[in-house]
Symmetry: C2
Subunit: 114 residues, 2 copies
């Protein structure tokens, strides 16, 4: 006997832009840079090398012809990284998109299978 | 300059049950059996062998301890296959879930990035 109560829902959402995916990886990386102000701290948090994180950002910037992260050398805090306004908006929009999708899919699932 | 109008949304939804995925493959197979009344016609439509289609159904039935497809041997139409009421409801629910999720995600995406 099929018991709908035993079902769980799984889903994945992402954005595509000119055939390139803006998904969890780049999103989390940018979000962590925003939170930590540091590419190396963000990379460490994601168990990536600094080089890999930097490469991921540069690849996206080149592909989309946009600056996502600005780095500062030296200064009182010994340098750091900041998201550009465009990257901040992108992270915010992606986060909203994810959260609202999550809520909608969960509700639809529960209405039908709950 | 990031132009949100150039974004597209991508997504995937599926059901899990006791750790097994009920996704596009089994759903389409059941739907085609419902439409054609024949496992071999459904398999052909999906470019699968009859053996592979039958195996997929039997695996799901065994895992979930449920009968999804009933076969009839002989008779006026030379046999055929029917979905059980449980399988019909599952296909219907899955279809509703997919359609409503699609509409919701598209709307959220357009509200945020449109």
């Amino acid at each position: 006997m099929i018991d709908p109560g035993r079902f769980n829902v799984g889903y994945k959402v992402w954005l595509e832009w000119d055939g390139s995916v803006f998904g969890e990886g780049l999103f989390k990386l940018l979000q962590l840079i925003q939170q930590t102000g540091s590419i190396s701290a963000a990379a460490r948090e994601m168990s990536m090398s600094y080089r890999a994180a930097w490469g991921k950002i540069k690849k996206a910037e080149k592909r989309w012809d946009v600056t996502l992260v600005e780095t500062q050398v030296g200064g009182e805090q010994g340098g750091g990284a900041l998201l550009t306004p465009q990257a901040l908006r992108l992270v915010k929009n992606y986060q909203d998109f994810k959260q609202q999708s999550d809520a909608a899919i969960t509700k639809i699932f529960q209405d039908i299978f709950g």
